[in-house]
Symmetry: C2
Subunit: 142 residues, 2 copies
């Protein structure tokens, strides 16, 4: 495989990241949910993370999305991105590292488990709930 470098995103990457986000949406059959627009040129994968708070464990890192272009899969790039996020987690004082995966994406689930993750939906019964925009506005009485 060609040499791949895992690095933090920089401003000039925006166009490329948008392209990958659209590819991810297609892969997840959720293209209709994408609300962004713009064009641009060449990264082969990305991970988007943010910091959340676990009531019992404190500062936690949350990997919102990870994506690798189809022609670059099977080369360990996804694992490298995940390892990089784990490094950031420890650097920032997070012991816990959470992420979400679609249950039909067996390849991703197998990878995360092989890397040491636990499926908390399976093990403890956690379900994701979401209020979309209209429901949020209704809730807030706006």
């Amino acid at each position: 495989m060609a040499s791949v470098r895992i690095r933090e995103a920089k401003e000039g990457d925006c166009g490329d990241i948008l392209r990958l986000i659209r590819e991810l949406a297609e892969f997840e059959n959720l293209s209709h949910q994408v609300k962004i627009s713009e064009e641009g040129p060449c990264l082969v994968g990305y991970g988007i993370y943010c910091f959340i708070y676990s009531t019992w464990k404190g500062r936690t890192i949350y990997l919102e999305d990870i994506y690798v272009m189809p022609e670059y899969r099977g080369q360990g790039i996804g694992s490298k991105i995940i390892k990089k996020v784990a490094e950031v987690a420890l650097d920032k004082g997070c012991s816990q590292f959470r992420l979400a995966v679609l249950d039909w994406n067996q390849r991703a689930m197998d990878l995360y488990k092989a890397l040491g993750a636990q499926d908390l939906t399976e093990a403890e019964g956690w379900h994701f709930f979401c209020f979309e925009g209209e429901a949020t506005r209704k809730l807030a009485g706006k």
Copy 2:
């Protein structure tokens, strides 16, 4: 029911919030996972939220936990806390409001659905994955 006020937490609430966190852990049968200590005196419920990022929808609010003491349940306090979080979400420019719930907590699931939330684990197959401390350190090679 006695009059209940939904308000932002302040510094002096810490002891009380810790007490509620421990009660929540007992309710969820996850007391062994609580890593905090300290004592204190009188709130009857809380919600802990933080801000995350949805790749497709942008700024999003995430309700990490919500808890109401057993003797105060059935009075609409949980709904009021959720509505307050929805107000904060809109004030901060978040259209999406996410939370997680244990699948055996039917009362909570029914409430969230009645308020307009969608169960994304059921509808789209999202599973929660987590690397705990040891797994995170192993991933990062530390």
